[in-house]
Amino acid sequence: MSNLVAFLESLGADGRLDGLTGADYAAAVDQLDLPAPVREALRRRDVAALHALVADAPMMLVLVPGDETPDDEDDDGKDGDAPAA
């Protein structure tokens, strides 16, 4: 899949490529040495389909706790329990 990553990197890095539309974009995708389903997902600009083809599971991306109550600092592994009424 290194071709796929290289293609996406070039699209991200080069504003002219990012502006490719219609036939020019389809032609660029068709030139890639990639499995047909991956090319089809690229052609449709279908990120979900692309992820389904290249990843085993959805990725998590949450890096901050929802609340910073003092309980959060406990080391008992039960952070965020309901405060007493």
Partner: protein
């Protein structure tokens, strides 16, 4: 003498290939080991092409596991390599220190143990939001709140400024688990927001693009429709101002008096 380990926290930005700064890239390429938490499996593959030892921290997450446990494990894995005398790079999606608690704590812990540690700024989802939605936060102001923190605390919202609510899909998740909460939880968020905004006020569900082949998600809907809206972990709620700025006549008068006094003083002391 053993080499001293170090820690660099970098952000790869939001869009693969578009946002990674040269300095951050060099830190990734020159590290002995790179740990990563990114938003897209293809971004992870992209990083793997920059360094021979890239280790994903995705396996620290688990269904039902409190996120605070996850963050502690991530930090411990990173610090273990720093203590072993290695140059460690921690690469995260977006900005490594915006809505990301673990990198700040990792830097502080590494420094406390005597290791050089620093954070590089990067392009965050917030930056993309301003560009994609055409918002200048300096125009009328912009408030940012984490959704659960907003629900659980008595915060003052200013409806004459923009409001951005992060992690809206996790609103009301008191146990900091990794799954999204329910429409009933989000109905409570709407109830809270209705103290300051009309029920039919137009809001925006926003998701930054992570690949250049896709557009950001910008979905406009009435506030009342939020509980049933499709929300992903990366969704952000953007609430436009609901009223114009209100002038403070007392402060206007005081500033006018101050300026008048300054003019008089200037007139008296000005050289001939």
């Amino acid at each position: 003498m053993a080499r001293q380990g170090s820690l660099s926290c970098v952000g790869v930005g939001m869009v693969l290939g578009a946002h990674l700064a040269p300095r951050a890239r060099s830190l990734i390429e020159q590290a002995d080991v790179v740990f990563c938490v990114v938003s897209d499996p293809l971004v992870e593959q992209w990083l793997a092409g920059m360094n021979a030892d890239v280790r994903s921290l995705q396996d620290c997450y688990a269904p039902g596991r409190p996120r605070l446990d996850t963050y502690r494990e991530m930090q411990e894995r990173v610090l273990a390599q720093v203590r072993a005398g290695r140059r460690v790079c921690l690469a995260l999606y977006g900005h490594p220190g915006v809505f990301a608690r673990m990198p700040h704590e990792a830097v502080a812990a590494a420094r406390a143990e005597g290791h050089p540690a620093h954070m590089e700024p990067a392009i965050s989802a917030e930056d993309c939001l301003y560009a994609d939605l055409g918002i200048d936060p300096g125009r009328v102001g912009c408030q940012h709140h984490e959704a659960t923190q907003l629900l659980l605390n008595q915060r003052r919202l200013d409806p004459s400024a923009w409001l951005v609510v992060w992690q809206v899909a996790l609103a009301g998740d008191r146990r900091n688990l990794t799954r999204g909460t329910t429409p009933a939880h989000r109905a409570l968020l709407v109830e809270r927001l209705q103290r300051d905004y009309p029920r039919d006020h137009e809001v925006v569900v926003y998701e930054a693009a992570t690949l250049a082949i896709a557009a950001p998600r910008i979905e406009r809907l009435p506030l009342s429709a939020l509980p049933e809206a499709r929300l992903e972990l990366q969704s952000t709620l953007v609430v436009p101002p609901a009223m114009p700025l209100r002038a403070d006549p007392v402060m206007h008068a005081r500033l006018a008096a101050l300026e008048a006094g300054a003019c008089a003083m200037h007139t008296v002391t000005a050289p001939l």
